[in-house]
């Protein structure tokens, strides 16, 4: 399947470096115009953010992400779709793990409930 050249540009090393600097408040202009962005410029910014997040996942070694996935439009979309659908599940698992590690005392947990009349 053919990749979209706008997305290829957005995931390129050069543009990702520029975007990272912009996110870190370094004064760099991405476009000649400051305001009144065109539709394609807005779309490009969305793709910059999309690939920025994918690269973060790659560097933090999230499961199921690889450079091959990032380089393929459909696989990248599919990964994000899967991640969004499983976000709650993933977050719950992560929270449960963290809570379990934090609260682990070795003593079984007892829950007291009111006796029903």
């Amino acid at each position: 399947m053919k990749n979209n050249p706008l997305r290829e540009l957005a995931r390129s090393f050069e543009w990702q470096c520029l975007y990272t600097n912009v996110k870190n408040n370094i004064n760099i202009k991405l476009f000649l115009n400051k305001e009144d962005l065109s539709r394609i410029q807005i779309l490009f910014l969305e793709y910059l953010e999309f690939y920025y997040n994918l690269y973060i996942d790659l560097y933090t070694e999230e499961a199921l992400i690889s450079q091959e996935v990032i380089d393929n439009d459909l696989w990248a979309d599919s990964y994000i779709l899967w991640k969004r659908k499983n976000r709650d599940k993933l977050n719950n698992n992560k929270e449960n793990r963290e809570n379990r590690d934090k609260n682990f005392t070795g003593i079984p947990k007892i829950t007291f409930t009111k006796k029903k009349k």
């Binding site: 399947m1 979209n4 050249p5 706008l6 290829e8 540009l9 390129s12 476009f31 000649l32 115009n33 009144d36 962005l37 065109s38 539709r39 394609i40 410029q41 779309l43 490009f44 199921l64 690889s66 091959e68 393929n72 459909l74 696989w75 979309d77 599919s78 990964y79 994000i80 779709l81 899967w82 991640k83 659908k85």
Partner: protein, 211 residues
Amino acid sequence: MEENKNKEQLAKDVTDKLKKINDLNEVENLIKDNKIEFEFKNETYRVRKPNYKERSQLHRLRSIKKQELVFDKAYKFRNQWIEIYKEKGIDIEKIDKDIAEMYLQIEDIKLKIGSTEAKEIKEKLSKDVEELELKINRLIIDKRDYLEFSIEDMITEFSNIALISLVLEKKAEDKWIKAFIDIDDLLANADDLLLALASNNLGALIFSLNL
């Protein structure tokens, strides 16, 4: 016959020109500013976003055209065409349902692609998505053909042309001047390929873009 040949040649010319856009440098040219410059027959043109005055002019032109079409009994709305086609055995509403169903199927397949690391499975599923997208595109083209003479579609087509007449500019001795005085001038003198290029670039500025 001659007209069909011309149309084929025009379609090929447009495709050849648009293929160039796939070059990344060309894409950079599209995003660097909120104006897009392009070459046609050794002249430099540009399209830009319409300002408030131009948007008002467009609105006025659009409403005049709408009244003209609505009060002319020869023209029909989309819903009327849908009913006419239904009587002839073509169900356009079913086309919409089929398209929506196929988009859901694509989403399911994407979830499977996203959830596996196996390259062979990803590749096989990608082909399934490609086939579905091809089917969707065919249905969209069919639907567009069926409804191209509906009042709504004709107004959209007219609005695109009217907008081009307002914001297409030509470089003349380092100054930008309007390429056409008004829509009548454009309709009388514009080259079809120039209109196609202007329309595609304008699409990138204010609508969506099919690269």
